[in-house]
Amino acid sequence: MSVYAEMVGLDPLTSGEVVVAQNIAFGLIAVIMLFSALRMVTTRNVVHAALYLVIVLAGSAAIFILLGAEFVGVTQVLVYIGAIVVLFLFGIMLTRGALGVDEEEKGEQRLMSCLVAGLLAIVTAGALINTFSDAELTRSSPSTTATVGDSIFSQFIIPFEAISVLLLAALIGAIVVARKD
């Protein structure tokens, strides 16, 4: 919660209060995110699902800021909530009626998915707990947009170019695929 910390003029590393505050914030955000995520994958209403997705995405933006990655957090809000979710909503609109509001889930499929996802969660969690059980976050200062920009245009210039080309290709591809003719 570096923005908050700066606002109140506290050193994030030394202040016990901040840490407590951060933890409380994290707990709240995490609970909300998990609840929304669960609802998103289980709700029958597709539009509701999209809205739940918005909550999850916003939550993760908050997490990013909590982690001192402001630029990523802001980008998250801009791109995801601003663009992608809108795209989704359009998609839902255009395909509405295909399954109606509801869809009947096959119990068998759900069971299998549950098993796989549960197994995955257990294995991952186990591995994480095993490995990072006492690793603390000791970030000295939040990253600035400037450093992110420097980094992108120096060290990661080639991936950046590649991403640009990818976006272009996806753009054209999407048009080609969805074009009516």
């Binding site: 796989v116 197994l119 995955l120």
Partner: protein, 770 residues
């Protein structure tokens, strides 16, 4: 926990185990490998160019074997000189005693120069005392693995020189004989190619320097035998016989593999710096000096005996040999009488140190080898009685005589056994070739239905056959008598007039030998009668064979007469001392690689008794066939096969009692009813039935069972259990969602599910392991 002698060859001239071999000697002796090389080259020549040659490759084979024969004779002469006059340096073997689990104590003991030699297990001696009976050894590295040089080379001593002579001579004669006998055959060229290959392999076998080389040659002669028995493979019985021969031999070879392996490592355990050695001389020397545990030697010797039993047709692995008569007769003469089948005997003679120590031949009154030999000789002789096929008579006779040789080796009469091998090669080859000559004329091997009275039509064959038969029966002064007599003396079982000495008193073996002598004389008399006397029962016009068949017969017959004179017994007062025991003098090694055996002294009394036994056996048979059957046949006007009381009729007990009352001549009954009939009838029949049904049946049954169990394993276990398990696991996993196909449902989500599940499981495994 064996702590052996501590013998270190720090300077080789001082110590080490004398091996009795030298790397010096005459050029011919050191280069005896040229002799097998010639037929090997001719094999390749015939294989690639044979069909284009004017005589279809036969000339190449004959030339090669002919030159090999000349070389063998020259080598033999060189050996005679070497044996008496060579005084060279003897090779010594550096032995390290290794304490079990002890330190590798020899490490610090030797210097660099020694290491080089020790790697091969030998160290050349400096100026050690010379020995006058050194075998010549000459080796080159064949391959090396794990720092052990496995060499290939020659070990030339009296035994190998004698074998070289016998093999090349018989092979040459058989080559010549075959040009007539198989002339016009459709695989004439192949036939000669395999004869060449066989000669090469057999010659390699007899000069083998090490057991591995021996094993290689051993298998190669086996495969030549396979190819030649199955020469006419269009008919199933022939290829069956070939298969049977090969497989039976393989069973024995298993013993050979294991035995050679045991010896390799056992010898290696007492040599410094190497873990094994195949060298025959080293193996024998180490065994003779008590450096190896008795258990290891006993196991090795027993395993090797299995090989001997199969290759040399010993009871109870002998059943392939009579079947092997399906091959062309010259092949039977060369391979299944004179040379290949004696490979087992040769191997015992070669590795005598191992057998002598392992089976305690010097000490006990009965051992495995002597017993096997004794049983074989009896079984073979009794079975020879009931055969109609002339070649089978000779085949059983060969089994019996091979048993004689093994018996002799088993009682420690080494020279006698080897000498019998020598003489037997000539007279048995003569008999086989003679039978081939007859069969060539009448186009059949059946004595009862297609032969008889051949003595007029085939005088040369008849005379040579008679000579061979007498030699085989062992009547003086022909070859068989001398060698047989030596064996009987060698048993040490003769107690009259001071006895004969030897390595123990093998009385049982003496009795067995005596009985066999009588039986041999009797069945050969029967065979001669059925073939050459009485009325001709076959069809067509019968002529004497051509010169290419008759000439080898006479050469062999000549040798069958004189071969015995090479080893007149010591103390035989009729000839000067320098003519006595020549064979033993030159052939029997007196060297580090040969055990110390005690020699029997010949006994006049034994010789006379054994001769009487032979005459008894012969005259009993003579009386029955030449007098009784002949008369009956004349009286009834019927041919032999139609006689009601023919030789094939059994004599049940009741009938015998009736006969005793009815007939006047008690002797008549004694000879015909009890001795001849009893032996020939129930006893031989029983033995034959045992042979055919129990032993042969067991072999068949084992084969059948193997196939059946194979079928079972394949059908039930492989296809059902193992394969089934695989298939079932697939089915089970799919049954959760329907059928196996459902996994390939084409649905992206199921694919994704599998992907995730698999990734998770693998990750989980990784985590658990890390």
């Amino acid at each position: 926990m064996v702590t052996e002698l501590f013998i270190f060859a720090e300077s080789a001239s001082q110590s080490g185990l004398p091996l009795g071999i030298t790397s010096g000697g005459a050029w011919l002796l050191r280069n005896a490998w040229l002799i097998p090389l010639l037929p090997a080259l001719s094999f390749l020549g015939i294989l690639f160019f044979g069909k284009r040659m004017p005589r279809k490759g036969a000339e190449l084979g004959i030339a090669a074997v002919g030159i090999a024969f000349v070389l063998a004779v020259l080598t033999g002469l060189a050996w005679l000189d070497h044996r008496d006059n060579y005084h060279g340096e003897e090779t010594h073997l550096a032995v390290a005693a290794v304490e079990h689990h002890g330190e590798i104590s020899h490490d610090e003991h030797h210097d660099d120069s020694h290491d080089e030699h020790a790697a091969s297990g030998h160290s050349e001696s400096g100026h050690h005392a010379t020995h006058s009976s050194l075998a010549v050894s000459n080796t080159v590295t064949w391959f090396q693995t794990n720092g052990v040089d496995i060499s290939v080379g020659v070990l030339v001593d009296g035994l190998s020189v004698m074998m070289l002579f016998v093999v090349t001579l018989v092979s040459l004669l058989v080559h010549i004989y075959s040009t007539d006998y198989v002339g016009g055959d459709r695989r004439y060229t192949h036939y000669f190619a395999f004869l060449s290959l066989f000669s090469a392999s057999m010659l390699t076998l007899v000069i083998s320097e090490n057991t591995l080389q021996l094993l290689v040659a051993w298998e190669l002669v086996g495969v030549c035998s396979f190819a030649l028995i199955g020469h006419w493979w269009e008919e199933k019985p022939n290829s069956d016989a070939a298969l049977k021969a090969f497989l039976t031999n393989r069973v024995g070879d298993m013993g050979l593999l294991v035995g050679v392996t045991i010896l390799f490592f056992s010898v290696g355990s007492v040599l410094p710096d190497t873990f094994g050695s195949f060298s025959i001389a080293a193996t024998n020397a180490v065994a003779n000096n008590g450096l190896l545990s008795h258990t290891a030697l006993l196991v090795a010797a027993t395993c090797l005996m299995a090989a001997v039993m199969s290759k040399s047709g010993q009871f109870f692995l002998h059943t392939w040999l009579p079947d092997a008569m399906a091959g062309p007769t010259p092949v039977s003469a060369l391979i299944h009488a004179a040379t290949m089948v004696v490979a087992g005997v040769f191997m015992i003679a070669r590795l005598y140190g191992v057998f002598f120590e392992g089976l305690s031949i010097g000490g006990s009154s009965i051992n495995l080898m002597a017993l096997v030999g004794g049983i074989t000789t009896l079984v073979g002789a009794s079975l020879a009685f009931v055969q109609r096929d002339i070649k089978k008579v000779l085949a059983y006779s060969t089994i019996s005589q091979l048993g004689y040789m093994v018996l002799a080796l088993g009682v420690g009469a080494w020279t006698a056994a080897v000498f019998h091998l020598f003489t037997h090669a000539f007279f048995k080859a003569c008999l086989f070739l003679g039978s081939g000559s007859v069969a060539h004329a009448v186009h059949s091997f059946d004595m009862k239905s297609d032969m008889g009275g051949m003595r007029k039509a085939m005088p040369h064959t008849y005379r040579t056959f008679i000579i061979g038969s007498i030699a085989l029966a062992g009547l003086p002064p022909l070859a068989g008598f001398w060698s047989k007599d030596e064996i009987l003396a060698g048993t040490g079982g003769w107690g009259l007039f001071g006895g004969t000495g030897g390595n123990g008193s093998y009385t049982l073996m003496l009795v067995m030998g005596m009985i066999t002598a009588a039986l041999t004389a009797a069945y050969m008399t029967r065979c001669v009668y059925l073939t050459f006397f009485g009325e001709f029962r076959g069809h067509g016009d019968v002529h004497e064979s051509g010169p290419r068949i008759v000439a080898p017969l006479w050469i062999l017959a000549g040798l069958a007469i004189v071969a015995g004179l090479f080893n007149l017994p010591k103390g035989f007062q009729l000839v000067p001392d320098s003519f006595q025991e020549r064979f033993g003098h030159y052939v029997e090694p007196v060297a580090g690689y040969f055990p110390t055996i005690s020699h029997a002294t010949p006994s006049w009394s034994l010789a006379i008794i054994s001769t009487l036994v032979v005459i008894g056996g012969a005259s009993a048979a003579w009386w029955y066939y030449f007098v009784k059957v002949e008369a009956a046949s004349k009286a009834s006007g019927k041919s032999l096969t139609e006689l009601p009381n023919g030789p094939t009729t059994t004599y049940p007990l009741a009938k015998i009692i009736h006969n005793i009352l009815d007939k006047k001549y008690y002797l008549d009954h004694l000879y015909t009813g009890i001795i001849a009939g009893g032996t020939k009838g129930p006893l031989a029949r029983m033995a034959y039935r045992f042979n055919q049904q129990v032993i042969d049946g067991t072999v068949d049954r084992v084969g059948e069972t193997a196939v059946k169990s194979g079928q079972f394993v394949y059908d039930k276990i492989d296809q059902l259990v193992v394969d089934g398990a695989v298939n079932t696991s697939g089915r089970l996993s799919s049954e959760a969602g329907g059928e196996l196909r459902k996994i390939q449902s084409g649905k992206v989500q199921s694919y994704a599910a599998i992907l995730f599940a698999a990734a998770t499981v693998l990750a989980g495994i990784l985590i658990v392991i890390v």
